[in-house]
């Protein structure tokens, strides 16, 4: 969806490095979801954020939704090869529980 922009489109990092992926919308995000996709597979749910200022963590991955609820970031600490894949943000842009997705960020982690 052009209403949901992800950056960067592609990211290559050395194992052990930290990284951040951003998801930005021109509209209020009623709900923001982060997914991970490996090649040839379906999407794996990572985290969901709904409240402005909310932050959630799972293992080495932290996601935040800004106060204005128009931008979210996904931060990976001490990246590992297992973190490699495509990260997609999905958002409810209308309040109708219909999710639109960004174009994804392809992450490569070099051992």
């Amino acid at each position: 969806s052009q209403e949901l922009e992800q950056s960067p489109q592609s990211l290559i990092v050395q194992e052990g490095k930290n990284l951040t992926i951003n998801c930005t919308s021109s509209k209020t995000l009623y709900g923001l979801y982060w997914y991970k996709q490996k090649y040839g597979e379906g999407l794996i749910f990572l985290m969901m954020l709904q409240k402005g200022g909310e932050e959630k963590s799972h293992e080495k991955i932290t996601a935040k939704l800004d106060e204005k609820k128009q931008q979210s970031s996904l931060h990976i600490t001490a990246s590992q090869p297992s973190h490699a894949g495509i990260y997609l943000c999905g958002a409810d842009l209308t309040g109708a529980n219909n999710l639109f997705f960004g174009t994804g960020t392809r992450l490569t982690v070099i051992p």
């Binding site: 379906g42 999407l43 969901m48 529980n97 999710l99």
Partner: protein
Amino acid sequence: GAGVSQSPSNKVTEKGKDVELRCDPISGHTALYWYRQSLGQGLEFLIYFQGNSAPDKSGLPSDRFSAERTGGSVSTLTIQRTQQEDSAVYLCASSQRDGNSPLHFGNGTRLTVT
């Protein structure tokens, strides 16, 4: 079943033929979504079913595309007179419509139109 099931996993068809893709959602999930993912692209929303409400068809790219959901469970996405640009992975997802539940995705159907 334990997860969203899609069939077939792969489909090769000749240009001009009709195809049907099937999605079996997680039992009890009232919401069902179809998305399309072209090579190297993000997910393109196609259609959304919620309970007995009229589906949101706003994402269907042309009138060659249609979908139905029988009995509030299984859904079929039909593409008529397929074109080469229809080649993509078609993903189905389901969720509980309580505003607090994520979408659970199937592994998709890879459609190739030759």
